[in-house]
Symmetry: C2
Subunit: 137 residues, 2 copies
C-alpha cells in the first residue's frame, strides 16, 4: 500500500508511512544518494522504545521493528521484523483507530513511475458480498 | 496494495488481483467457508505454465508462483513464491505495460473494514522531488 523508508541499524528498523503532503520530500530522498548529498535534514527524526531505530517525525504512522530474520532471495534480501511499537497522532484517528482518509498514504506503480492517492470508499469488507450469499439461498 | 486470493497446492500458488467490478464476489468468497457453501462457481478458473496452480479468469492480473519457502512466524506462515508467469489481457495495458487505471484494484483497511478505490494520479516517481533538489543547489 505504501512507500516505505527504512533503516537497518543495530538489529532494528522502522517503516514510516508518508502522507500525500510529503510526496515531494519522499520522492526526493529516493532520487538522491546519501553519499553525494546530505539529505539528513529533509525529515525530522525521533526514537522510540528500542532507542536505536530512527523514526520519521513527519510521517503519520511509524512502525518500529526488531529485526527478526533476513531471508536471502534471488534478487534481494527480505527483512522480516517483529513490530515492537506503532506511533501516530490523535489527528489521524477516528474513534481511536487509524483512518486512511486522514493519513492519506499513496502508492507508486512501475514501470510507469506514477504516484496515486487513495480514492473513494467503495464498500464494507465482509459485508458487500452479502448480496451474493442472499442470491444463493 | 491488493486483496489477494491464493491457493497452495502441489507446491504452487497464485496471486490474483481483482478489479473494482469484482468487489462483491471477492468479498463473498472471503465471508463464507468452503466447507459450508459451494463457492467454486463464483469465479472461473484456468491453468498456466505449471499446470497445477489454479488462476482466476475474471481477475485482470494473475501471478503464477512456484512455492519457494514457507517461513514460520509467531502468528502465521509466510509463503514465499518465485514468480513463474504473469497473465493479463491487452485491455489492461497502455503502451504494453499494466495500467492501474484500467486494472482498477482496490485495498481494504482494518479494523474499520472499508474497501478503497485507487484515486488520482498525484505525481511522477523520481521526478516530483526535483523541486527540492533544485532548492538545494
Amino acid at each position: 500500500v505504501i512507500t516505505v523508508i527504512y533503516f537497518v541499524e543495530n538489529g532494528c528498523f522502522s517503516v514510516n508511512i508518508p502522507s500525500e503532503d510529503l510526496l515531494e520530500k519522499t520522492d526526493y530522498v529516493g532520487t538522491v544518494s546519501g553519499s553525494e548529498v546530505d539529505k539528513s535534514e529533509t525529515f525530522g527524526v525521533f526514537y522510540g522504545k528500542l532507542k536505536n531505530a530512527p523514526l520519521i517525525r513527519e510521517c503519520p504512522i511509524n512502525i518500529e521493528c526488531r529485526l527478526h530474520d533476513i531471508v536471502s532471495l534471488a534478487s534481494n534480501n527480505l527483512f522480516l521484523g517483529e513490530v515492537v511499537a506503532v506511533y501516530t497522532e490523535e489527528k489521524y484517528l477516528t474513534d481511536g483507530q487509524p483512518d486512511i482518509e486522514k493519513i492519506k498514504p499513496f502508492v507508486v506503480t512501475l514501470p510507469d513511475n506514477r504516484y496515486w492517492a487513495i480514492g473513494e470508499n467503495i464498500g464494507r469488507a465482509w459485508n458487500t458480498g452479502k448480496v451474493i450469499s442472499k442470491d444463493k439461498k
